[in-house]
Symmetry: C2
Subunit: 321 residues, 2 copies
């Protein structure tokens, strides 16, 4: 994993994946007492940064593998990212989703052109079904974070951020990143180390799902006690990735952990001041940047996604706007 | 009014006013049956394109006039645009607002650093108060649309759009623009005529406040019967501007008129598919692009602002998301 891989991923995705803006708002800065810059990946083509990793992985496939197709396990943003990239490459795409996934997510994944295969979470083994399908059809599995090309794709956020921060005159700042398995955080950390070493990645996670924070503290990959129970569904992973953890061990600054309420509050402030729509898991880094203690004058947060149920969004507005 | 003035305005605002993205979404295109591109001015620094005109006008002042300061009449987006620009130039800024304006708008305008002077809509004459203040303090009045430098500033949207459309391979498309007095529409029309003549501005207005549509049809400046009564408050002006109307008479294509419900529906679709927050008046052009009849395969809409009450936004989500 290095800068050259990230730059190669950026070259492959040009014109297909969006360069997202770095937003800020004078009234938000005034309310918070520091300058807060937000890399708005919720404005990415599929509503989250996952389009980058998906594009990077699919576009790096050998042509015969691309023709056979790809498979991914996801009911959320990774599914949409992979499906979008696969469709654009003419690659068949199978997304394996639990049969109790929300109907809108199943419909959206199909609308991107993917074949959705449902399994029963209680009685069927997802990995076995996936392996059987992959074997039978020669599909390539696209993992959500433990894949070098996925990490390289997510790292293109860091390339843009290095440019955009320089344009804004920012040379020193923490960069909070919403963290599940660590693919985005580690990719950005690699890019920034090379291009803007004064910008330091800090992972942000929800309370109770702070496996990365605990792992970075202990020096080994820790697991979360629970698999669900936070509204930040997009970033609930069992433990840091095998590839991502060593990168973040070396490059990341102190981790942040925020409450679900702080994530909702960040969503409401993003609505009012930045006019963007965030999902809870995509607002965790912004919450860390807004509500953290002992932060410097200027902070950056990566707002990773905006695929949110309207009832959840309405709750955020009712309680905090 | 010409391209050189618009380019000069763009040069003055570099680094202070945001280049907003041109957004699109595969699932929105699929739902609508055509490609819809959205120039997201709701992501502009003050939440609307008005920061452009404000910056252009303030930055064009002679230095002594800038020191004396500026005055504007507005309770909305124009006030915030002018206040933002004035503060950044160290220019005193008076905003004259009706005393029954929403408290949050008064507070926001003050937070941008402006002095808010309130008047009683029923018993006081706004223009007389403004003239007296301007005279006493040597303030320059910044009009919301009938000012060449304001039109030039808004026209910078057209410069960006010409670039962004070319990058997306779009050479022919209608460009729907939310229209009040016509400052933005006419500025964009001037820029596009020079740089991308296949992109044709079409004004979009709410039902009952279609003064521009009727004026373009009749060939003379018509007035609206009412001064209020649409949720699209940002774009309710009595009649086309003196400077803007002749430009649009020459350059604009057929006008669009949409209902308040269509504007709310467009807000809900922008939430779901583009993850941006629009105010009703800022969603009128998108509504025209989404719900208009007989449109070509590819359309562009300028989403002009995102400063919306949360209750209005919640209504849009409840009814249409």
């Amino acid at each position: 994993m290095n800068l050259a891989m990230i730059e190669a991923a950026a070259a492959r995705m040009a014109g297909h994946v969006r360069r997202t803006p770095l937003l800020n708002a004078p009234l938000l800065d005034r309310a918070v007492g520091r300058r807060v810059f937000v890399k708005a990946e919720c404005l990415q083509i599929t509503g989250s940064f996952k389009a980058r990793g998906g594009w990077s992985a699919v576009s790096a496939l050998p042509v015969d593998a691309c023709k056979r197709g790809v498979i991914a396990f996801s009911s959320g943003n990774h599914a949409q990212g992979v499906a979008y990239a696969a469709a654009a490459h003419g690659a068949p795409c199978v997304i394996l989703m639990p049969s109790d996934a929300p109907a809108v997510k199943i419909a959206n994944t199909r609308a991107y052109g993917a074949e959705v295969v449902l399994y029963d979470r209680a009685t069927e083994d997802r990995d076995a079904i996936g392996a059987r399908l992959a074997e039978a059809r020669g599909l390539t599995l696209i993992r959500p974070y433990d894949d070098p090309e996925v990490i390289a794709g997510q790292g293109t956020v860091g390339l843009e951020l290095a440019d955009q921060a320089a344009d804004a005159g920012i040379t020193q700042a923490p960069v909070f990143v919403c963290c599940g398995g660590g693919g985005l955080s580690s990719g950005i950390a690699l890019a920034l180390q090379a291009l803007a070493p004064g910008l330091k990645v800090r992972t942000a996670e929800p309370v109770g799902f702070d496996d990365m924070a605990r792992s970075l503290a202990s020096g080994r990959r820790e697991r979360n006690a629970a698999a669900s129970g936070s509204i930040c569904d997009a970033i609930l992973t069992p433990s840091p990735g095998e590839l991502t953890f060593p990168i973040l061990s070396t490059l990341a600054g102190p981790s942040a952990v925020v409450t679900d309420d702080q994530a909702l509050h960040a969503m409401a402030l993003a609505f009012t001041h930045l006019r963007v729509v965030l999902e809870p898991g995509g607002a965790v880094a912004l919450a860390a940047a807004l509500f953290g203690d002992g932060l410097p004058d200027t902070v950056i947060a990566v707002a990773t996604g905006g695929n949110v149920e309207r009832s959840t969004f309405a709750t955020a507005l009712e309680r905090f706007a």
